[in-house]
Every structure is written in C-alpha cells, then in structure tokens.
C-alpha cells in the first residue's frame, strides 16, 4: 500500500525512458539527495561529516568504479587501490604544477590518468579470465604502488615522500576552501557529495544505455556477446577505463579531502580487498549497492569497536578488535549465505514488502 507503482501512465517517450519512472521512487531519491545536500550539513557534526560521511562517499565512488568493472562487465579486479593511487598522485601533480587549473579539474585529471593506466592493465583481460585475471590485476596493484613511491617525480621530489595537500579554493582563488585542514568540514563534504552524486548519475545512465548493456553481455557470456556483434576489445577496455576513472577520482578525493596528503599506505592491497567486500556485500551490478556496501563495510568495524562503550562494558581495545575481526568474518559469511546479491537486493525485497503491506498474500 505504501509503495505503489500501479496507476502510473506515461504519456511520452521521454517519460518512459526516465531514470526513475515511478513517482514515489523519484520523490524519494530527490528527497534523499536534497537531504544529503541541505539537511546533512545542518545536522551532522564534524565527526559525522568529516570522518564518516566523507570517507564513506569516497569509498562509494571507488566501489561504483569496481562495480562497473566487476559487477557490470564481469572482470574481477584486485587492483582498485593502485588505480586510486594513480588518481591521487596525478591529481597532486596537476594541482601543484598546473596551479592555474581549479582543483576539481585536477581531480578529474587524476581520474583521467587512472583511466589510461586502467586501459593498459586491462589489455590482459582480452586473454585471461576469472581468477587468473584477478591475480593479474594484482600485478597492477603492486607494480603501480612501487612505481609511484620510487619515481620521485610523482611527489615533486619531496624529501619525506609524503607530500601534503595544500588548502585549495574551489576555483583557483575564488570560492570556499574545499581541501586541506583549513577547509570547513561542510565544504569538503559537499564537494565530495557533488562528485558522488554526479558519478552515480552517470554510472546509472551508462548502465542502461548501449555501453552498459554490452558490458553485461560480455559478463554473462563473452563468446555469445562476440557472436552478436559486441566487440570484446572495445567493451572490456571501456569498462576498465571508466572503472579506473571512478577509482582515480576516489583516490584523489581521499588524498585531497580526507587525509590531506598522498600517502601510499592508503592505497595498498587491503584497500582493494575492502572495496571488493563493499560491492559484494552491497550487491554486484548495483549502483545503490555500492553506496550501501561502502557504508556497511566502513561503519561495521567502527560500530563494533564502540559497541561495548555504548553498553557500558569495559572491554580492552585488543579484545574488541579481535571480536571485530570475528564478527566481520561471520557477517560476511552470513550475508553471502542469506543474501548473495547483497544489500541492494534486500532493499528490493523491502520495497516488495512495502507494496503488499498490509495485505500480503
């Protein structure tokens, strides 16, 4: 009863092709985005915006990137961290050496560089499949990080090797500060949010137009897709490029808006696994799932580590972390057993339930 899709009639082709054809969905999403833009900065304090929402949104962008590659195009990748690093290092280079460019351009340039690297490491996917490909992407992970830490050019010959990100305004000298510690947390949050919303919109649209459909065809059976005229080379490499672009932007935002420096430790193999968890738990091949998964995986350990405090129990920090590991492991398995299609599928089920409520048959 609450959620209804019946009784909606479309009177134009444009309406038929809308992103969210059901008014309820549409209003819900618009409301949510509005809330994220207006309500959240008003109610959220520095802790919530600065160290929860910002990283979750950034990781959600990276998860969308990996979801495009793994969820839509079916190419398993364990190199997400390295593509993020590519974006971060290049964005830093552009921001410092071409300082007449506004910082959003630098971040997009980082994404672009990452896309090129992604294409390069995507070439093996034409011949290698499945887990073999996953291990091949590990080569990207280790080689790229090694490259960025060994070629001093990437860090402007910085003595410490960990260059700090300066405080940048939105447009060179104009607008609010959006990066660095001096920038207000609301500004940084909104800056990241704009990227997240636009990239999500773009991903959602890509997924339902020709390019997305050819990705899915390749994923479901590449030989069959080839026979019906989809070019594997073009399709797989475009998936790698766009996926890496998303990851690169995420990596750059991580450096610019979250930890304020370009540190290789932030892009190590653990990051790649973390983002893989996100898309599996969130739901493969779902943009919504990328957000849900990112929030879940990022918040779970933090919540678990604070739970005893809320309950007033005094448990040593190490025991909590060990428990956290165990609970995390159990939850991953539990989710896979109960709902292998992830949180996004649970959301679907919830909608179904709402439609029938209160008269389920």
């Amino acid at each position: 009863m609450i959620y209804r899709e019946a009784g909606e009639f479309k009177t134009s082709y444009a309406a038929d092709q809308g992103l969210l054809t059901i008014p309820m969905d549409r209003w819900f999403v618009i409301g949510l985005v509005l809330f994220a833009f207006i309500g959240m900065p008003l109610v959220g304090d520095e802790y919530w915006l600065g160290s929860i929402m910002i990283p979750v949104l950034i990781l959600a962008i990276a998860a969308m990137g990996l979801n495009i590659l793994t969820g839509y195009a079916g190419q398993l990748s364990l190199g997400t961290g390295a593509f993020m690093a590519a974006g971060a290092y290049m964005a830093y280079k552009v921001a410092t050496n071409l300082s007449f460019l506004p910082v959003p351009v630098a971040i997009l340039a980082g994404g672009g560089f990452s896309a090129m690297i992604g294409v390069l490491f995507g070439i093996p996917s034409l011949r290698i499949k499945g887990f073999y490909l996953a291990v091949a992407t590990l080569a990207a992970q280790f080689f790229l990080l090694w490259l960025f830490t060994h070629v001093d050019w990437f860090v402007n010959y910085n003595l410490s090797g960990v260059p700090a990100i300066a405080d940048y305004h939105l447009f060179v000298d104009w607008g609010p500060l959006v990066t660095g510690a001096q920038a207000s947390v609301e500004a940084r949050y909104l800056f990241v949010l704009v990227f997240a919303v636009f990239l999500a919109l773009a991903a959602r649209n890509m997924a339902r137009c020709k390019i997305g459909r050819s990705w899915m065809a390749i994923r479901d059976m590449d030989i069959a897709a080839e026979i019906i005229g989809i070019r594997p080379l073009h399709t797989k490499l475009s998936a790698f490029a766009i996926s890496s672009f998303y990851c690169g932007v995420a990596g750059a935002l991580w450096a610019f808006c979250f930890i304020n420096n370009v540190e290789p430790g932030a892009y190590e193999i653990e990051r790649s696994f973390q983002i893989l968890f996100m898309i599996i738990i969130g739901g493969l091949g779902s943009i919504l799932g990328s957000f849900l998964g990112a929030a879940f995986i990022f918040l779970l350990p933090i919540t678990l580590s604070q739970l005893p405090g809320w309950l007033g129990l005094d448990v040593p920090a190490d025991v909590i972390t060990h428990l956290e590991f165990m609970v995390m492991g159990v939850l991953i398995i539990f989710f896979l057993i109960v709902e292998p299609h992830g949180l996004a599928r649970l959301w679907q089920i919830a909608k179904e339930k709402l439609r029938r409520w209160p008269f389920p048959y």
């Binding site: 830490t149 410490s160 090797g161 930890i259 879940f296 590991f325």
Partner: protein, 433 residues
C-alpha cells in the same frame, strides 16, 4: 540512494554523547593504539607503557597537582583512515596525540594544527616538524630520523676511531621501502659525501618484508663494513635472522630505534648476540620509577594488557612518552594554574619543557628518559642523541653513553624541508623571538 544515512543519523546522537565522556576534572588523554594487526607486536608494549605511566601518576601522586589523567584507547590497527576516525571521535578536550604511526601522523599534522591540539611524534613521523616555526603544534623530540642517522654514523666513526676513518668504508643501508625508510637517505647522501664513505641501498618491499634473501646474498657478496637498518614490523626479525644465516658479524649490524624491540632479536635468540640498535631512552627495569610501578600498579593488578611487557624496549618508549606529556602538563600548570589544561596550554608546556638530569632524578626516571630541552624554534630538543644497545641473547643492554647527533648537518635540511612545506601549504612561519 543513500538511505544508509538515516540509520547513521539515528545512531549519531548516541555516539556523540558517549564519545566525549571525558569528565571535566580529568586531563583527557586519547591514546591511538594498535594492539592488533601486522604491527601489533610493536604496538602492544607501546600502548601498555603509555597507559601505565598515567595510571601510576594517578595512583601514586593523585595526578598532577590534583588533576588526574583519563586515558582512553582507540584501536587504529595502524590504518590511516581508522586513525583519522579515532582522532575525530576523541579530539574534544584532547590533551595530546601520539599515534605511533607514520601514516596517521602525516594525516593528522594539518588537522591538529587547525584544532590546536599538540602532537608528539616521538622519534617518528615528519622529521622537518622539528622546525617549530612552521609546525607550531607538532613535536618530535627527543630526536628525529635524520639526526639518528648522523648519530649512528657517528657511533660507527667512534668505533673505528674517528670520523676520518670512515673514508673508503662501505656501509649497507637496509630499509623498508616506504616513506619512513627513505627518510634518512638525503642525510646519508650528505654524510657519505662529507666523510667519504660509500653506501649501498637495499630496499625491502613492504608487502614481502619477510623475503630478504636476495638482499642478504648481495650483502654477503659486497661485504660491507657495517649494515644499518631502518625497519619495522616483521622486517626486523627477518633481517636479523638472515644476517645470522649468512654469518654476518652481528656487532657490525645496527638497527635504528624502531628496529630495537625485543621482537627483532628473539626469533634468532642466541645467534643474534651482539646485534646493536639505537635507542633514545633507557632499557630494562633499573630506573627507580619501576619500583613505584610495581607497588602502585602491578601489585594492585592495574597493569595494562597482561603486564608482561614491563621493561621491554618499546614499553619503555611508551612510558617515556607519557612522562614527557605529564611533565608538559605540569609545566603548563605553572603558567596557567592548577586545572585541566587545554591543548593550547599543553603546547606551551611542551615548548617550554626543560627536563634536566636533576628533575629526572626527582621523578625516578634517571637513565630511562633523556634530558630534553625544547624551544619554540626547535621541536626536537636541543640535544638530540642516541645510545646504542646490544642484544645479549635474551635482552638488550646499553653499551654506550649518549652519542650526539650532527645537528649542524641536519638542521639546514630540516629548515629547507620545512620551508618547502610552508611554501606548498601557504603558511607563514611564525617568529620565535
């Protein structure tokens, strides 16, 4: 699309209330620790020592001038994002931060400065933070990596009989291939040129730090006169093990102070006898303060962790760190009155810290904590120096007196790097006069 937020918000109210539970009458000490993960063997003793000293002050003296300390640990697992989260969660009323991690240090440098909370990265983190004009809130006394490198070279020179003897010598430098391990390289370059020795660089890949065979085979071939190591975590123990495997003379193998933990040498046991490492504080349980610790903390069953780490090298390091913090608070109270100090006031205390031998004797810290004097300009202390400790098969013994660093070599580098940082960030260095 982001409905997860609703849930977050609901939880947010509860979270903020609990996380800032520090009572107003207590000096709140958030402790960013890593008792788990790949570096836990180092993180546990550090965290234990840090907490125990505060508890000792609370139990024995009733705090500093009646102000007790409240230590709250937040587990980071050595991960930068968890460190930032811990910081944001605990920063309200926080006295000081010391995350024991290079990555977290770099991430927090700007944040603590903006939030006006002092930051003591004791012997790690960003070396150029020693320039207090640029890094107002960051301290790294009693010594930095660059000064440590010069002091180790000085030690080698002393052993050879003077710096002129370094000429033509060959040194191997094994380091973790990470910004941390690469930090001393500019200093080593300068020293090599200045004293006429050569050195070979042997980076150890961070994700395969237990694989050092190729490095030690090369060392076996090149036969360096000395090997210096800049390691951390599992890399240390592996290096010592491989060194014993190729029968390298352990007394010519010198680790830095992060390669100085017991876990570095224990797996090799007796074979590692003679292995040396730098330290900037005392080892063992000889300092008088340990008697008090036994009486007030251990016997009452209040020791952190299982109490088994007391007296270990890294335990003492955490202990010494806490001692500095306590003294900085005490110093600040002299100026601002006997109440809970704010971050800014503690910063003043740190900047005016002057721990003399006499004062350390009063505190029972003789031989454990080095005398230190910090100024506005110089945040690494005026007399950076190290001692060398030797592994005797079951524990470390200090074998030298303080070996001063060559600050005339490192200071210009520090100022140069700090200036570059200031230029990049658009900071105007403050004047210290």
């Amino acid at each position: 699309m982001k409905f997860g937020k609703l849930g977050l918000l609901a939880a947010s109210a509860a979270m903020t209330v609990v996380s800032t539970a520090a009572l107003a009458a207590e000096q709140y000490i958030p402790s960013l620790v890593y008792r788990t993960g790949p570096y836990a063997s180092g993180g546990v003793p550090l965290a234990d020592g840090y907490a125990d000293y505060f508890h000792l002050i609370n139990e024995r003296d009733g705090g500093v001038n009646g102000v007790k300390f409240k230590v709250e640990e937040c587990e980071t697992g050595y991960k930068t994002d968890r460190g930032v989260e811990c910081y944001d969660r605990t920063k309200e009323n926080a006295t000081i931060y010391n995350p024991w991690s290079t990555g977290i240090t770099y991430a927090l440098i700007d944040k603590v400065t903006a939030d006006k909370i002092p930051f003591l990265s004791m012997g790690y983190g960003r070396t150029s933070a020693a320039d207090g004009r640029v890094f107002e809130y960051i301290f790294n006394f009693p010594s930095t990596y660059w000064n440590q490198a010069t002091a180790i070279v000085q030690y080698i020179a002393n052993e050879l009989g003077g710096t002129d003897q370094l000429k033509g010598k060959r040194i191997g430098y094994i380091y973790l291939d990470h910004p941390y391990g690469k930090e001393p390289i500019p200093t080593m370059d300068i020293l090599a040129e200045k004293f006429g020795f050569t050195y070979d660089k042997y980076p150890v890949a961070p994700k395969s730090m237990t694989e050092q065979k190729s490095i030690w085979l090369q060392i076996r071939k090149t036969k360096p006169d000395y090997v210096i190591m800049w390691g951390w975590g599992a890399m240390n123990a592996t290096a010592v093990k491989e060194a014993t495997n190729i029968r390298f003379d352990m007394s010519k193998f010198i680790g830095n102070w992060w390669s100085a933990g017991e876990d570095t040498a224990i797996p090799s046991g007796d074979k590692a006898k003679g292995y040396r490492a730098a330290t900037f504080h005392g080892v063992g349980k000889d300092a008088p303060v340990f008697g008090d610790l036994q009486q007030h903390i251990v016997d009452k069953g209040m020791a952190s962790g299982d109490g088994s780490k007391i007296g270990l090298v890294l335990y003492n390091r955490g202990f010494a760190n806490a001692a500095y913090v306590v003294e900085a608070v005490r110093k600040a109270q002299e100026k601002f009155g006997n109440r809970v100090m704010t971050g800014e006031e503690v910063r003043w205390g740190l900047e005016n810290l002057d721990l003399t031998e006499e004062r350390l004797a009063e505190l029972g810290l003789t031989g454990l904590v080095p005398p230190t004097k910090v100024t506005c300009e110089n945040h690494e202390g005026l007399s950076p120096a190290i001692k060398i400790q030797e592994w005797n098969g079951s524990g470390y013994e200090v074998i030298t007196d303080w070996i001063p660093a060559m600050t005339q070599v490192t200071r210009p580098l520090i100022e140069q790097d700090a200036a570059a940082y200031a230029a990049e960030k658009g900071i105007t260095p403050r004047s210290c006069n």
